[in-house]
């Protein structure tokens, strides 16, 4: 708790790496634009209008989305791992992504089955976003009602998994009755996507995300107390139910909006906190929280840079890249240290 200052150098390095990654991410894409022109377009001083459009309305929002998604998932993963004292926990253990999946499945797959009402909504991006938000909100509400009645935190974990199973089952039933085209659309949503968010959408995303971050920062002290276990935390005067609720709401806001806007992005939320603990070698959330923020953003920018296969016309699903890059890194870190930090 006293050694935050010794990490100042590491943080400085991370911030520089983040800036570099951000710039590299914006520079790369299917259309190759000279580096100097990228700089110019960032300050809005460029002659080529299509380049200007590509950078300002496509690449920049995508890079910001990557930062929000990576940092948000990393932080919600960290909160869940500490709350459940379980290194396998991630942002989606409470069934938030399953809730979102159900919402989206109802819109995409259900439009064929229920016809009329849904079909008239059309499957616009906003209807997917709203459906995903409603889905995760319903699950959040259910988890909160349950967690206010349950004394054992582990029970909440299991209840979250149960909600996941129920929604997965409903999605299976819907899939069974859907057309191939609808299924494909649903599966594509499941791949996750950082692109195609407008500035306006990004702004709404950012506002909800900020609430989640503020609540996470407010939980730092409680999270540190929880490192001792719940009974010790209580003996130190922590209001367990209240802290638990704030942590759950923060996670839901972060993971819920991210899933709504970018799809269910796997792995990052689980892996980033582990990478950060290995490298910073601390459990103090005052250090971990900002470190996870930076790491999450960096890794997501790197993954996105790779996913768009620079200079080619193809873009790989971001979900595949996060696992392809992330899993070996976590394995390597664990082998190197031979010790699970938690």
């Amino acid at each position: 708790m006293s050694n935050t200052s010794t990490y100042r150098f590491s943080f400085l390095v991370l911030v520089i790496v983040l800036l570099v990654c951000f710039f590299v991410n914006v520079s790369l894409g299917s259309v190759s634009i000279p580096t100097l022109e990228i700089f110019k377009s960032l300050i809005g001083d460029i002659d080529n209008e299509s380049w200007q459009y590509i950078v300002q309305d496509y690449r920049l929002p995508k890079a910001f989305t990557a930062i929000l998604v990576g940092s948000g998932l990393g932080i919600s993963g960290l909160l869940m791992q500490t709350l459940f004292r379980n290194p396998l926990a991630g942002p989606f253990v409470l069934g938030i992504s399953s809730g979102a999946s159900l919402g989206v499945a109802l819109v995409i797959l259900g439009s064929g089955i229920f016809g009329g009402v849904f079909a008239s909504l059309l499957i616009s991006k906003w209807s997917v976003v709203i459906a995903a938000s409603l889905g995760s909100f319903m699950v959040l509400l259910a988890v909160m009602i349950v967690s206010s009645r349950v004394r054992d935190t582990m029970a909440i974990l299991i209840i979250g998994l149960m909600f996941g199973s129920i929604t997965a089952a409903v999605v299976s039933v819907l899939s069974y009755f859907s057309s191939a085209e609808q299924l494909q659309q649903y599966i594509f949503w499941g791949f996750g996507s950082l692109g195609n968010l407008s500035w306006q959408e990004l702004f709404i995303f950012f506002i909800i995300y900020s609430f989640g971050i503020v609540l996470s920062i407010a939980s730092i002290k409680g999270l540190n107390t929880l490192l001792l276990g719940e009974n010790y935390a209580k003996s130190l005067g922590l209001n367990l139910k209240q802290s638990r609720l704030v942590i759950i709401i923060a996670t839901s806001l972060l993971a819920g909006t991210i899933t709504a806007f970018a799809g269910p992005i796997a792995f990052i939320g689980l892996a980033i906190p582990h990478m950060t603990r290995q490298i910073f070698n601390t459990s103090n959330h005052k250090t971990l929280l900002p470190a996870v923020f930076l790491f999450g953003a960096i890794i997501m920018l790197i993954c996105d840079s790779i996913a768009q296969l620079p200079t080619s016309d193809y873009t790989l699903p971001i979900n595949a890249i996060t696992s392809l890059i992330g899993a070996p890194v976590v394995i390597w870190l664990l082998l190197r240290k031979r010790k699970m930090m938690f």
Binding site: L227, K234, T282, S283, F342
Partner: protein, 264 residues
């Protein structure tokens, strides 16, 4: 020691402990009257399953009494807010801590949580108190080690230091000597005795080390099926209280040596 009797840190009145479900109550012990004086080391002994843990849980406000009250510094435990109570009473539990990745210093620093600001920043006063707790428990050489690098005995010392850093009048420990070898059992209890004397704190611990407790405690609380007796070890021996602790078929208390012997 007349001045000691003037300051009672913990007191119970008509206390009944046990469990209540919707249908019926299970009373484990009734009418418990305990008074713990300032600066005393108190050992709580009793057979397995007699209700030591239930008594400690009730005293520490983890569970509600069936009847009666527990007072700490003449205020009912129920009237304290969680943070106020954390400034009166610190605990050392039998359960392991959740994260062993904390350094000893960080672990002990968490004892300052009831006093720190919203983000848990340590003031200079906090650091002074933490370092004092480290010195009192002889942990200077280990303070930058991680918890997973420690032996059980060292970790127990660190947990005691954490309770000291919480700066409370009362420290309650649940079986602090389990998992320790004979030397470290004696070491930990001796340390508790020294801390009670040096810091004038009241230290209550439950234990199965009856012979060590007899030698080190100022007062002992003996729990049996019939009642809860608290007195000085000498008086308890001469009253024959220790003979009522266990069923009489296997072991018997030897008043001359102060420990239990297997019947031949």
């Amino acid at each position: 020691m007349n001045d000691k009797t003037q300051h009672i840190v913990l007191k119970t009145e008509h206390l009944s402990i046990g469990y209540k479900t919707k249908k019926h109550e299970t009373i484990i012990a009734a009418n418990i009257a305990i008074e713990l004086q300032k600066g005393e080391l108190i050992g709580l002994v009793g057979a397995n399953g007699i209700g030591k843990s239930t008594l400690l849980r009730t005293l520490t406000s983890v569970q509600k009494p069936l009847k009666g009250h527990v007072f700490i510094n003449s205020k009912s435990v129920a009237d304290y807010s969680p943070v106020e109570l954390a400034k009166q009473m610190s605990l050392v539990l039998t359960e392991p801590i959740a994260s062993k990745n904390l350094s000893i210093f960080e672990l002990i620093a968490l004892g300052r949580q009831p006093y720190t600001n919203w983000v848990g920043n340590l003031s200079e006063d906090d650091i002074v108190i933490i370092n004092k707790a480290i010195t009192q428990t002889n942990l200077e050489d280990l303070k930058h080690k991680k918890c997973f690098e420690l032996s059980d005995g060292q970790l127990q010392k660190a947990m005691i230091a954490r309770a000291l850093a919480q700066d409370t009048d009362l420290i309650i420990l649940d079986e602090p000597t389990t998992h320790l070898d004979m030397y470290h059992k004696a070491y930990i209890l001796k340390l508790l005795q020294k801390l009670a004397k040096d810091t004038n704190k009241t230290i209550l611990f439950s234990s199965h080390e009856i012979d060590l407790a007899i030698q080190l405690c100022d007062t002992m609380i003996v729990m049996t099926k019939e009642n809860v007796v608290s007195n000085s070890p000498c008086n308890l021996i001469s009253n024959g209280t220790f003979n009522t602790l266990f069923p009489k078929d296997l072991i018997a208390f030897d008043e001359n040596t102060g420990n239990f012997r297997v019947k031949k």
